[in-house]
């Protein structure tokens, strides 16, 4: 069995100052890295002779409009080692002005659609992605709906404009 401590130490040994903010919310090792190091890190964890963290559980994005501009967007990777039953969560923070991050679809085939979904929802651009177009929403949509400034409701609906019940 792997434990968080030993994996964290090993990662720090390899990546040095590029990994920081180690946390363990509910026992799940969480760490932050830079976008330059994310793909090498995924490959490193996948090919590591001991860890074998070779299953990409999930990629998603989070929008934090109220923090510093450099950490407004976050891409979250969940990885899982079936052999050791060990999960790790890796975060990469991006600035609104520069929403670029390299694609993981070379390392994991499953990253393809998860990245398209993240692009669709948040507008994060995955460089090198084979087909980075909207997946769930219509092509004609001109904004990224999961950003927090956009409303949930359908803007075309008029029957709810009511003095009592309102929107």
């Amino acid at each position: 069995m792997l434990n968080n401590q030993s994996v964290a130490e090993e990662i720090v040994k390899k990546f040095g100052d590029d990994v920081y903010d180690f946390e363990e919310p509910f026992g799940l090792l969480t760490l932050t890295t830079t976008r330059e190091q994310i793909i090498p890190m995924l490959e490193y964890l996948k090919n590591h002779s001991e860890f074998k963290i070779g299953f990409l559980t999930d990629i998603t994005g989070v929008h934090f409009p109220d923090t510093t501009p450099a950490t407004e967007y976050c891409v979250v990777y969940h990885l899982h080692s079936f052999i050791h039953n060990f999960r790790v969560r890796i975060k990469v923070f991006l600035a609104e002005a520069d929403l670029h991050i390299p694609t993981a679809s070379e390392v994991y085939a499953s990253a393809n659609w998860m990245e398209r979904e993240t692009f669709d929802f948040f507008g994060i651009i995955f460089d090198g992605h084979p087909n980075l177009i909207r997946i769930l929403n219509m092509e004609e949509m001109d904004y990224h709906p999961m950003r927090r400034e956009y409303p949930l409701e359908d803007a075309t609906r008029e029957d709810k404009i009511d003095a009592l019940f309102g929107r």
């Binding site: 769930l136 929403n137 219509m138 949930l152 359908d154």
Partner: protein
């Protein structure tokens, strides 16, 4: 051999030895209402309840809908079961246009009727924004009994519909309001 087969009652008319006279409207309505071919347009949860309606326990076939017609051109009744997203709306309209007159539409479930709980940027707020609807079945999802009741309502409509209704100005105006020629 089953001997308790129920045969529909003849419509009102004049009867004598060797002849029976009634209005054409009534005969056509009678025939139509007992063999409505449904076109299931099932997208989500309500589609599973529609599957229950078709399957062994509720058995929609009892009401003359034995054959779900997956080709719109041979269907009489469009059953829209489930959420219609904005991306899906043109497809739904296309399917409706492919159906031949006379055609009836049932909106099954809250989503198809009004968007339901999904008052969101991606969901069409009721299919009556793109096509005319005859019967709304409430519920999220409606029980199969409710779906059957909705189909009974359509039967009632078909039974009593005048043959000239579809040529009338009112109906044409309705279609025109949906930009359907």
């Amino acid at each position: 051999m089953a001997t308790d087969i129920k045969i529909v009652e003849a419509p009102e008319g004049f009867e004598g030895s060797g002849f029976f006279a009634t209005s054409f409207d009534k005969v056509v309505g009678l025939a139509r209402s007992h063999s409505l071919w449904p076109l299931p347009f099932a997208t989500s949860c309500c589609g599973i309840e529609f599957m229950s309606t078709m399957a062994s326990r509720y058995d929609l076939a009892r009401f003359g809908s034995e054959r779900p017609s997956f080709s719109p051109r041979q269907a009489d009744m469009l059953l829209v079961a489930g959420t219609i997203a904005k991306k899906m709306a043109p497809v739904l309209k296309q399917v409706y246009l492919q159906m031949a007159e006379p055609r009836w539409v049932i909106a099954i479930g809250a989503c198809a009727s009004s968007g339901g709980v999904f008052d969101t940027y991606s969901v069409l707020q009721g299919i009556d924004r793109v096509i005319p609807v005859d019967v709304y079945v409430p519920g999220c999802p409606p029980r199969p009994e409710q779906i059957l009741e909705g189909i009974m309502q359509v039967r009632e409509l078909t039974h009593n519909e005048s043959l000239r209704r579809r040529n009338g100005a009112e109906y044409q105006a309705l279609l025109a309001s949906y930009n359907i020629q």
